[in-house]
Protein backbone atom coordinates (compact mmCIF):
# COMPACT_ATOMS: atom_id res chain seq x y z
CA UNK A 1 0.00 0.00 0.00
CA UNK A 2 1.67 3.19 -1.16
CA UNK A 3 -0.58 5.75 0.47
CA UNK A 4 0.76 9.02 -1.06
CA UNK A 5 0.31 7.54 -4.53
CA UNK A 6 -3.16 6.38 -3.56
CA UNK A 7 -4.20 9.83 -2.34
CA UNK A 8 -2.72 11.54 -5.39
CA UNK A 9 -4.54 9.28 -7.82
CA UNK A 10 -7.80 9.57 -5.88
CA UNK A 11 -7.60 13.33 -6.20
CA UNK A 12 -6.73 13.14 -9.89
CA UNK A 13 -9.65 10.82 -10.53
CA UNK A 14 -12.07 13.39 -9.17
CA UNK A 15 -10.51 16.17 -11.23
CA UNK A 16 -10.63 14.12 -14.44
CA UNK A 17 -14.18 13.02 -13.66
CA UNK A 18 -15.33 16.64 -13.27
CA UNK A 19 -13.43 17.51 -16.44
CA UNK A 20 -15.15 14.75 -18.40
CA UNK A 21 -18.60 16.12 -17.65
CA UNK A 22 -17.79 19.83 -18.01
CA UNK A 23 -15.64 19.99 -21.14
CA UNK A 24 -17.59 21.49 -24.04
CA UNK A 25 -16.53 19.00 -26.66
CA UNK A 26 -17.78 15.43 -26.78
CA UNK A 27 -14.57 14.04 -28.25
CA UNK A 28 -12.67 15.64 -25.40
CA UNK A 29 -15.14 14.16 -22.95
CA UNK A 30 -14.59 10.72 -24.46
CA UNK A 31 -10.81 11.02 -24.16
CA UNK A 32 -11.05 12.33 -20.59
CA UNK A 33 -13.31 9.41 -19.79
CA UNK A 34 -10.59 7.10 -21.08
CA UNK A 35 -8.07 8.81 -18.80
CA UNK A 36 -10.51 8.49 -15.91
CA UNK A 37 -10.89 4.76 -16.53
CA UNK A 38 -7.16 4.31 -16.75
CA UNK A 39 -6.61 6.04 -13.40
CA UNK A 40 -9.30 3.88 -11.86
CA UNK A 41 -7.39 0.91 -13.17
CA UNK A 42 -4.20 2.16 -11.47
CA UNK A 43 -6.13 2.68 -8.26
CA UNK A 44 -7.45 -0.85 -8.27
CA UNK A 45 -4.09 -2.39 -8.96
CA UNK A 46 -2.77 -0.45 -5.95
CA UNK A 47 -5.59 -1.97 -3.91
CA UNK A 48 -4.59 -5.45 -5.06
CA UNK A 49 -7.53 -6.12 -7.33
CA UNK A 50 -5.41 -7.18 -10.29
CA UNK A 51 -8.15 -8.96 -12.21
CA UNK A 52 -10.51 -6.01 -11.90
CA UNK A 53 -7.73 -3.63 -12.92
CA UNK A 54 -6.91 -5.77 -15.93
CA UNK A 55 -10.56 -5.84 -16.99
CA UNK A 56 -10.96 -2.11 -16.51
CA UNK A 57 -7.80 -1.44 -18.52
CA UNK A 58 -9.11 -3.46 -21.44
CA UNK A 59 -12.84 -2.74 -21.16
CA UNK A 60 -13.08 0.71 -19.58
CA UNK A 61 -10.00 2.47 -20.91
CA UNK A 62 -9.88 0.51 -24.15
CA UNK A 63 -13.11 -0.62 -25.70
CA UNK A 64 -15.50 1.82 -23.96
CA UNK A 65 -13.44 4.78 -25.11
CA UNK A 66 -13.40 3.42 -28.65
CA UNK A 67 -17.19 3.06 -28.51
CA UNK A 68 -17.50 6.65 -27.34
CA UNK A 69 -15.22 7.94 -30.06
CA UNK A 70 -17.06 5.88 -32.69
CA UNK A 71 -20.43 7.20 -31.51
CA UNK A 72 -19.20 10.80 -31.44
CA UNK A 73 -17.77 10.33 -34.93
CA UNK A 74 -21.18 9.14 -36.12
CA UNK A 75 -23.08 11.97 -34.43
CA UNK A 76 -21.56 15.34 -33.55
CA UNK A 77 -18.95 16.80 -31.25
CA UNK A 78 -21.09 19.78 -30.42
CA UNK A 79 -22.47 20.15 -26.91
CA UNK A 80 -23.93 23.08 -25.06
CA UNK A 81 -22.91 21.97 -21.59
Amino acid sequence: MVWPLDLAILTLVVIVGIGAITVKDLLGAAILFGAYSFMMCLLWSIMGAVDVAFTEASVGAGVSTVFFVAAVFRTSRRTKD
Binding site: M1, V50, D51, A53, F54, T55, S58, V59, G62, V63, V66, F67, V69, A70, A71, F73, R74
Partner: protein, 274 residues
Protein backbone atom coordinates in the same frame (compact mmCIF):
# COMPACT_ATOMS: atom_id res chain seq x y z
CA UNK B 1 -33.07 20.90 -13.78
CA UNK B 2 -29.58 21.83 -12.65
CA UNK B 3 -30.66 22.70 -9.11
CA UNK B 4 -32.85 19.60 -8.86
CA UNK B 5 -29.92 17.48 -9.98
CA UNK B 6 -27.65 19.13 -7.45
CA UNK B 7 -30.15 18.63 -4.64
CA UNK B 8 -30.69 14.96 -5.46
CA UNK B 9 -26.96 14.30 -5.77
CA UNK B 10 -26.21 16.06 -2.47
CA UNK B 11 -29.04 14.24 -0.66
CA UNK B 12 -27.83 10.88 -1.90
CA UNK B 13 -24.27 11.74 -0.97
CA UNK B 14 -25.33 12.81 2.52
CA UNK B 15 -27.23 9.57 3.07
CA UNK B 16 -24.27 7.51 1.88
CA UNK B 17 -21.77 9.39 4.04
CA UNK B 18 -24.08 9.02 7.03
CA UNK B 19 -24.23 5.27 6.45
CA UNK B 20 -20.45 4.90 6.19
CA UNK B 21 -20.13 5.93 9.85
CA UNK B 22 -20.68 2.35 10.99
CA UNK B 23 -18.38 0.75 8.44
CA UNK B 24 -15.49 -1.31 9.70
CA UNK B 25 -12.16 0.48 9.35
CA UNK B 26 -10.70 0.48 5.87
CA UNK B 27 -8.55 -2.58 5.26
CA UNK B 28 -9.53 -4.12 8.58
CA UNK B 29 -8.66 -7.84 8.50
CA UNK B 30 -11.42 -8.49 11.06
CA UNK B 31 -14.31 -6.94 9.15
CA UNK B 32 -17.30 -9.20 8.48
CA UNK B 33 -16.55 -9.15 4.76
CA UNK B 34 -13.11 -10.63 5.42
CA UNK B 35 -14.26 -13.19 7.96
CA UNK B 36 -17.58 -14.65 6.88
CA UNK B 37 -17.70 -16.09 3.36
CA UNK B 38 -14.45 -15.26 1.62
CA UNK B 39 -11.97 -17.26 3.79
CA UNK B 40 -13.60 -20.43 2.54
CA UNK B 41 -12.66 -19.59 -1.04
CA UNK B 42 -9.08 -18.74 -0.13
CA UNK B 43 -8.53 -21.88 1.89
CA UNK B 44 -10.33 -24.38 -0.31
CA UNK B 45 -9.64 -23.26 -3.87
CA UNK B 46 -6.57 -25.45 -4.41
CA UNK B 47 -8.14 -28.36 -2.60
CA UNK B 48 -11.49 -28.28 -4.39
CA UNK B 49 -10.79 -26.85 -7.84
CA UNK B 50 -7.00 -26.95 -8.28
CA UNK B 51 -6.98 -23.34 -9.45
CA UNK B 52 -4.48 -21.05 -7.69
CA UNK B 53 -6.04 -17.80 -8.93
CA UNK B 54 -8.91 -17.45 -6.47
CA UNK B 55 -10.70 -14.88 -8.58
CA UNK B 56 -10.88 -17.31 -11.48
CA UNK B 57 -12.13 -20.18 -9.35
CA UNK B 58 -14.81 -18.06 -7.68
CA UNK B 59 -15.75 -16.42 -10.95
CA UNK B 60 -16.13 -19.55 -13.02
CA UNK B 61 -17.01 -22.15 -10.44
CA UNK B 62 -18.30 -21.08 -7.01
CA UNK B 63 -20.24 -18.20 -8.53
CA UNK B 64 -20.12 -19.48 -12.10
CA UNK B 65 -23.84 -19.00 -12.44
CA UNK B 66 -23.42 -15.22 -12.14
CA UNK B 67 -20.71 -15.27 -14.76
CA UNK B 68 -22.91 -17.15 -17.19
CA UNK B 69 -25.46 -14.36 -16.95
CA UNK B 70 -22.73 -11.76 -17.19
CA UNK B 71 -21.79 -13.26 -20.55
CA UNK B 72 -25.47 -13.30 -21.44
CA UNK B 73 -25.67 -9.57 -20.65
CA UNK B 74 -22.91 -8.95 -23.19
CA UNK B 75 -24.67 -11.17 -25.70
CA UNK B 76 -27.96 -9.35 -25.25
CA UNK B 77 -26.20 -6.00 -25.64
CA UNK B 78 -24.77 -7.24 -28.93
CA UNK B 79 -28.16 -8.40 -30.16
CA UNK B 80 -29.74 -5.15 -28.93
CA UNK B 81 -27.26 -2.99 -30.86
CA UNK B 82 -27.85 -5.09 -33.96
CA UNK B 83 -31.62 -4.84 -33.57
CA UNK B 84 -31.52 -1.10 -32.99
CA UNK B 85 -29.03 0.04 -35.58
CA UNK B 86 -28.67 -2.41 -38.43
CA UNK B 87 -30.34 -1.09 -41.55
CA UNK B 88 -31.76 -3.75 -43.80
CA UNK B 89 -33.28 -1.75 -46.62
CA UNK B 90 -30.06 -0.04 -47.45
CA UNK B 91 -30.23 3.03 -49.56
CA UNK B 92 -27.64 2.98 -52.28
CA UNK B 93 -24.98 5.59 -51.50
CA UNK B 94 -25.08 8.70 -53.66
CA UNK B 95 -21.71 7.99 -55.08
CA UNK B 96 -18.88 5.62 -54.36
CA UNK B 97 -15.29 6.64 -54.46
CA UNK B 98 -12.60 4.51 -56.02
CA UNK B 99 -8.94 5.24 -56.04
CA UNK B 100 -6.48 4.08 -58.61
CA UNK B 101 -3.78 2.43 -56.57
CA UNK B 102 -0.82 3.38 -58.69
CA UNK B 103 -1.61 6.96 -59.61
CA UNK B 104 -3.83 7.99 -56.70
CA UNK B 105 -6.53 9.34 -59.02
CA UNK B 106 -9.99 9.26 -57.40
CA UNK B 107 -12.99 8.19 -59.47
CA UNK B 108 -16.55 9.13 -58.47
CA UNK B 109 -18.97 6.37 -59.45
CA UNK B 110 -22.46 7.88 -59.47
CA UNK B 111 -24.40 4.64 -59.71
CA UNK B 112 -23.49 1.02 -59.28
CA UNK B 113 -20.00 -0.11 -58.51
CA UNK B 114 -16.81 -0.90 -60.29
CA UNK B 115 -16.03 -4.57 -60.87
CA UNK B 116 -13.44 -5.73 -58.35
CA UNK B 117 -9.96 -5.48 -59.71
CA UNK B 118 -6.49 -5.01 -58.42
CA UNK B 119 -6.10 -1.58 -59.94
CA UNK B 120 -8.81 0.21 -57.99
CA UNK B 121 -9.59 0.18 -54.30
CA UNK B 122 -12.76 1.50 -52.72
CA UNK B 123 -12.26 4.36 -50.26
CA UNK B 124 -14.45 6.18 -47.74
CA UNK B 125 -15.98 9.56 -48.53
CA UNK B 126 -14.09 11.11 -45.62
CA UNK B 127 -10.91 9.52 -46.81
CA UNK B 128 -7.42 10.56 -45.86
CA UNK B 129 -4.40 8.74 -47.22
CA UNK B 130 -3.38 5.95 -44.83
CA UNK B 131 -0.46 6.86 -42.67
CA UNK B 132 2.29 4.42 -43.51
CA UNK B 133 3.66 4.38 -39.97
CA UNK B 134 0.32 3.67 -38.34
CA UNK B 135 -0.55 1.02 -40.90
CA UNK B 136 2.71 -0.80 -40.53
CA UNK B 137 2.80 -0.55 -36.76
CA UNK B 138 -0.72 -1.97 -36.46
CA UNK B 139 0.08 -4.74 -38.88
CA UNK B 140 3.06 -5.64 -36.72
CA UNK B 141 1.22 -5.25 -33.42
CA UNK B 142 -1.97 -7.14 -34.12
CA UNK B 143 -0.51 -10.67 -34.20
CA UNK B 144 1.25 -10.06 -30.92
CA UNK B 145 -1.87 -8.64 -29.32
CA UNK B 146 -3.76 -11.73 -30.38
CA UNK B 147 -1.05 -14.04 -29.12
CA UNK B 148 -1.04 -12.27 -25.78
CA UNK B 149 -4.84 -12.48 -25.63
CA UNK B 150 -4.71 -16.24 -26.17
CA UNK B 151 -2.10 -16.47 -23.42
CA UNK B 152 -4.33 -14.48 -21.09
CA UNK B 153 -7.27 -16.80 -21.72
CA UNK B 154 -5.20 -19.95 -21.36
CA UNK B 155 -3.24 -18.80 -18.33
CA UNK B 156 -6.18 -17.46 -16.34
CA UNK B 157 -5.87 -20.30 -13.84
CA UNK B 158 -2.47 -19.13 -12.65
CA UNK B 159 -2.26 -15.40 -13.27
CA UNK B 160 -4.60 -12.42 -13.55
CA UNK B 161 -6.77 -12.69 -16.59
CA UNK B 162 -9.20 -15.11 -18.10
CA UNK B 163 -11.94 -15.25 -20.65
CA UNK B 164 -13.16 -11.67 -20.35
CA UNK B 165 -9.85 -9.91 -20.52
CA UNK B 166 -8.55 -12.14 -23.28
CA UNK B 167 -11.79 -11.89 -25.22
CA UNK B 168 -11.81 -8.12 -25.02
CA UNK B 169 -8.23 -8.01 -26.24
CA UNK B 170 -8.97 -10.31 -29.16
CA UNK B 171 -11.89 -8.07 -30.03
CA UNK B 172 -9.71 -4.99 -29.63
CA UNK B 173 -7.17 -6.37 -32.08
CA UNK B 174 -9.84 -6.59 -34.79
CA UNK B 175 -11.15 -3.15 -33.83
CA UNK B 176 -7.58 -1.84 -34.16
CA UNK B 177 -7.49 -3.29 -37.64
CA UNK B 178 -10.72 -1.50 -38.47
CA UNK B 179 -9.36 1.79 -37.13
CA UNK B 180 -5.94 1.61 -38.75
CA UNK B 181 -7.24 0.49 -42.18
CA UNK B 182 -10.99 0.82 -42.58
CA UNK B 183 -14.14 -1.00 -41.54
CA UNK B 184 -14.43 -2.94 -44.78
CA UNK B 185 -11.02 -4.54 -44.28
CA UNK B 186 -12.02 -5.75 -40.84
CA UNK B 187 -15.40 -7.03 -42.05
CA UNK B 188 -13.68 -8.89 -44.90
CA UNK B 189 -11.62 -10.75 -42.30
CA UNK B 190 -14.51 -11.46 -39.95
CA UNK B 191 -17.94 -11.24 -41.58
CA UNK B 192 -21.08 -10.12 -39.84
CA UNK B 193 -22.75 -13.50 -39.96
CA UNK B 194 -19.70 -15.32 -38.55
CA UNK B 195 -19.54 -12.72 -35.84
CA UNK B 196 -23.17 -13.21 -34.86
CA UNK B 197 -22.81 -16.98 -34.86
CA UNK B 198 -19.62 -16.87 -32.77
CA UNK B 199 -21.33 -14.60 -30.33
CA UNK B 200 -24.17 -17.05 -29.74
CA UNK B 201 -21.84 -20.05 -29.87
CA UNK B 202 -19.59 -18.67 -27.14
CA UNK B 203 -22.37 -18.25 -24.61
CA UNK B 204 -23.84 -21.54 -25.72
CA UNK B 205 -20.56 -23.27 -24.82
CA UNK B 206 -20.91 -21.89 -21.30
CA UNK B 207 -24.57 -22.68 -20.79
CA UNK B 208 -24.21 -25.96 -22.67
CA UNK B 209 -21.44 -27.11 -20.33
CA UNK B 210 -23.78 -26.41 -17.46
CA UNK B 211 -26.62 -28.26 -19.13
CA UNK B 212 -24.31 -31.19 -19.84
CA UNK B 213 -23.58 -31.46 -16.12
CA UNK B 214 -27.33 -31.49 -15.54
CA UNK B 215 -27.80 -34.24 -18.11
CA UNK B 216 -24.96 -36.24 -16.55
CA UNK B 217 -26.94 -36.38 -13.35
CA UNK B 218 -25.64 -33.60 -11.10
CA UNK B 219 -26.83 -30.04 -10.58
CA UNK B 220 -26.54 -27.37 -13.24
CA UNK B 221 -22.92 -26.18 -13.68
CA UNK B 222 -21.53 -28.81 -11.27
CA UNK B 223 -18.40 -29.49 -13.32
CA UNK B 224 -17.45 -32.55 -11.30
CA UNK B 225 -20.06 -34.37 -13.39
CA UNK B 226 -17.71 -33.97 -16.35
CA UNK B 227 -15.61 -36.74 -14.85
CA UNK B 228 -17.76 -39.11 -16.88
CA UNK B 229 -16.63 -37.60 -20.18
CA UNK B 230 -13.13 -36.39 -19.28
CA UNK B 231 -10.39 -38.80 -18.25
CA UNK B 232 -9.49 -37.27 -14.89
CA UNK B 233 -10.52 -37.06 -11.22
CA UNK B 234 -13.40 -34.79 -10.06
CA UNK B 235 -11.12 -31.98 -8.89
CA UNK B 236 -9.29 -31.77 -12.19
CA UNK B 237 -12.68 -32.03 -13.90
CA UNK B 238 -13.63 -28.80 -12.15
CA UNK B 239 -10.41 -27.22 -13.33
CA UNK B 240 -11.03 -28.33 -16.91
CA UNK B 241 -14.66 -27.25 -16.69
CA UNK B 242 -13.49 -23.77 -15.71
CA UNK B 243 -11.15 -23.75 -18.71
CA UNK B 244 -13.93 -24.76 -21.10
CA UNK B 245 -16.25 -22.02 -19.94
CA UNK B 246 -13.42 -19.46 -20.05
CA UNK B 247 -12.94 -20.31 -23.73
CA UNK B 248 -16.66 -19.86 -24.28
CA UNK B 249 -16.57 -16.50 -22.53
CA UNK B 250 -13.56 -15.45 -24.59
CA UNK B 251 -15.27 -16.26 -27.90
CA UNK B 252 -18.53 -14.59 -26.90
CA UNK B 253 -16.88 -11.41 -25.61
CA UNK B 254 -14.59 -11.10 -28.63
CA UNK B 255 -17.41 -11.50 -31.12
CA UNK B 256 -19.76 -9.17 -29.26
CA UNK B 257 -17.21 -6.38 -28.91
CA UNK B 258 -16.56 -6.47 -32.65
CA UNK B 259 -20.28 -6.68 -33.38
CA UNK B 260 -21.12 -3.66 -31.23
CA UNK B 261 -18.21 -1.69 -32.66
CA UNK B 262 -19.21 -2.38 -36.27
CA UNK B 263 -22.81 -1.38 -35.63
CA UNK B 264 -21.99 1.75 -33.63
CA UNK B 265 -19.17 3.03 -35.85
CA UNK B 266 -21.13 2.68 -39.10
CA UNK B 267 -24.68 3.32 -37.72
CA UNK B 268 -25.55 -0.18 -38.82
CA UNK B 269 -24.69 0.24 -42.49
CA UNK B 270 -21.49 -1.80 -42.45
CA UNK B 271 -20.26 0.33 -45.27
CA UNK B 272 -18.03 3.09 -44.10
CA UNK B 273 -17.02 3.23 -40.50
CA UNK B 274 -14.69 5.16 -38.32
Amino acid sequence: MKTIGLIIAVLTGALLIYATADFPAWGDPHSPASLHVSPYYIEKTIEETAVPNIVTSVLADYRGYDTMYETTVIFSAGVACFLLLRTFRRKEPEERLYRHVLTGVTIHAKRGKLPPSGDFERIDTAWTPPDLIIKTMCRLLIPFIQLFALYVIAHGHHSPGGGFQGGVMLGASVILLAISQDLRTAVRRLGEKVDALLCAAGVFIYAGTGALCLLLGLNFLDYSALVRVLPCDPIMARSHGIFIVEIGVGIAVMATMIWIYCNVSSSGEYDEGL
